[in-house]
């Protein structure tokens, strides 16, 4: 199995083999972060540009750390202070970055499909760091990496994704990845937060968290965003916590070693209790650590693909 794609846009577009290759590559990079000198020269002389159209700390910093541990140069473009504010189009911005001879653009954008569009317009690599409600592939890869590390496999695992599935790119990427690797995935949310025909991805749906928790080997709890302006009335925060919030009481009825994951940042007391977030089942901070290894793998593989093409 070798990697041939210049971009990483989403897990929908990857084969099972490609996903496994990223996970294997990440495993070998994980060790780098434990060394005294946390650096390898794999991307020396390469330039990666963080182009973030949405506020993000965790993903941006994670990519920056990953790129630096591979010895790449990293430039951060904050769109609030760049010519984007002067009305430059996304494609023009991308072409300018390409003209600076950067090698990789890591982009976060609030519009679904923005990374696909940019990747089509450019010869350099584009890594999607989250586009609208569409995909957030490296988040899903680090979730899957963590699952595999903790539970030894993905195939046959019962994984539940809980929360606002309709507006979640994390959910979509996790669904594609987990289903391709053979997990049994259930998405659990109030009816109105389940997107149309989501079953066609191969998942089951449920609006009963207690039922879902009975069989789950792992649960990935999404951030609830009540501030979103979606017209339709969102469930009240308190009501949501009562019906779907992951609490110690609920978890007590689940499998003893159930893994609790969250892509962060956590709303304590909204989608999960503090006790659960900090409890023995939580692997939330390990996810953050694994994010670096996974992003190193992705940065490395897309760079290799471009070099191979000459």
């Amino acid at each position: 199995m070798s990697w041939t794609k210049k971009d990483l846009l989403g897990l929908e577009y990857l084969t099972q083999g490609e996903i496994e290759l990223i996970l294997e590559t990440a495993e070998s990079f994980k060790e780098v972060s434990t060394r005294e000198i946390k650096k390898v020269p794999a991307l020396r002389g390469k330039t990666a540009v963080n182009l973030f159209y949405e506020p993000s700390t965790r993903t941006r910093v994670s990519f920056e750390v990953a790129a630096k541990r591979l010895s790449a140069d990293v430039i951060n473009i904050a769109t609030e202070t760049s010519s984007v504010r002067k009305g430059e189009t996304l494609i023009d911005t991308g072409k300018n970055i390409q003209a600076l001879k950067a090698d990789i653009i890591i982009m976060r954008h609030n519009c679904s499909g923005a990374a696909n569009m940019l990747a089509r317009a450019l010869d350099i690599s584009v890594i999607n760091a989250g586009d609208g409600w569409h995909e957030h592939p490296t988040q899903a890869l680090l979730d899957i990496f963590t699952l595999k590390e903790k539970l030894g496999k993905i195939k046959g695992l019962n994984v539940a994704i809980v929360g606002d599935i309709a507006h979640s790119r994390v959910a979509r990427s996790n669904i594609w990845g987990l289903v391709k690797l053979g997990a049994n995935v259930t998405v659990c949310a109030p009816e109105m937060l389940l997107p149309t025909e989501i079953e066609r991805t191969g998942v089951k749906t449920s609006s009963n968290i207690d039922e879902v928790l009975k069989n789950a080997d792992a649960i990935n709890v999404l951030r609830m965003q009540f501030e979103r302006d979606e017209g339709a009335a969102f469930p009240e925060q308190l009501d949501y916590y009562k019906r779907f919030g992951i609490t110690e009481e609920r978890l007590a009825k689940a499998k003893k070693n159930i893994l609790v994951m969250h892509p962060g940042p956590i709303n304590r007391g909204i989608e999960m209790s503090s006790g659960v977030a900090d409890g023995k089942n939580s692997v939330i901070l390990e996810q953050v650590t694994n994010g670096i290894a996974v992003r190193m793998a992705v940065l490395f593989l897309v760079s290799q693909a471009r070099e191979d093409k000459g």
């Binding site: 696909n116 979509r172 997107p195």
Partner: protein, 424 residues
Amino acid sequence: MSILIKNGRLIDPANKMDAAMDVLVKDSKISRVAKDIKAQADSIIDARGKIIAPGIVDMHVHLRQPGREDKETVATATAAAAKGGVTTVLAMPNTSPTIDCAESIELLKGIINKDAKVNVLTCASITKGRLGKELSAIAELRQNGAYALSDDGCSVENENLMLQALQEAAKARILTICHCEDKKLSGKGVINLGFNSTRLGLRGISNESEYKRIARDIDLAERCSAAVHIAHISCQESVEIISRAKKKGVKLTCETAPHYFSLTEDALLEYDTNMKMNPPLRNAKDLAAIKQGLRCGVIDAIASDHAPHTENEKDIEFERAEFGVVGLETELAVSITQLIDTKLLDWIQLFEKLSLNPSRILGIERGSLQEGMFADIVVISGEEEWQVKKSELVSKSKNSAFLGHTLKGVVDYTICNGKVVYKR
């Protein structure tokens, strides 16, 4: 001036004629239709192996002039029309200014008289500024030469106001064209609601937002016996509702656009903004229903909904891009490819949808090749294939949903009012 078109296969839907016939054009009219005409003529067109048909009457075209000449002008749109075999267009009123009063009609007519290469009919807005607040002076618009009324791009939300409009339109004997969309349901949607909107992470537009508003407008039309035409239908339920109303005897016609019988939402999987239009491309079941509606006659007309947009408005993030596609240059070939080649319609039926029915709906004496009619004629190489290329489109905007597609049917000549306005 006279033109003799010889040796072709003549299609005249008005007489259900599909036969080897010659056509003699004198000045602006069709002078004779007969076998083997021996008359002298200023020019002779050899149409051996070609189709001779009435020029297309496209009742849904956005000319963009006045106001958005960067997208399209009367000159460029009518050149595109001529190239596509279209000899009459109905110009939608959502320009700047809106065509909603005698003065703006005059303004548009001035441009048409100067620049138009084919017939351009004006459609005026139902409400002033298309704002859905206050009715335009409907009788006056009629007297000043408007052929129809439409707030295209919007439906008149206020049901009472729409009822009043239809009452006025019935009195003035003018057609009302309804853009049927309940924006409370379609909201900020950008593609069809379904599995693809889920996987692409885009807001969906339900079939319901279209057919519920069609049902309302049919109900209103029935109450005041107004002539109503439903624009750009895209989904199965719309076909069914219109079919039922027609059976009941409601005075009602409708159109669809070529993209709704040739493309589905699967064309959107790469976020191609040239596939973004309103109503959106639907699923395979809807496409089949639209085709069936054309076949059984529920759908009266094919119209392009030609909606030019600049590259700046299309080459951006999907949800920010404008809705709409150009269609004047491809509607005939897409129709031939999708409807004739698949034997869904025969040539007579196709030109009923493209030429005859739209003429009857608009109340104009065109869309037929009978002697004495205006000579609006298209000569087509029906079997010849061509590829749609951006560089070859003459429309000012290039936002075609068919770029790269291979289509059947090339226009050799377009004759409008007895004059050759396009020659290959």
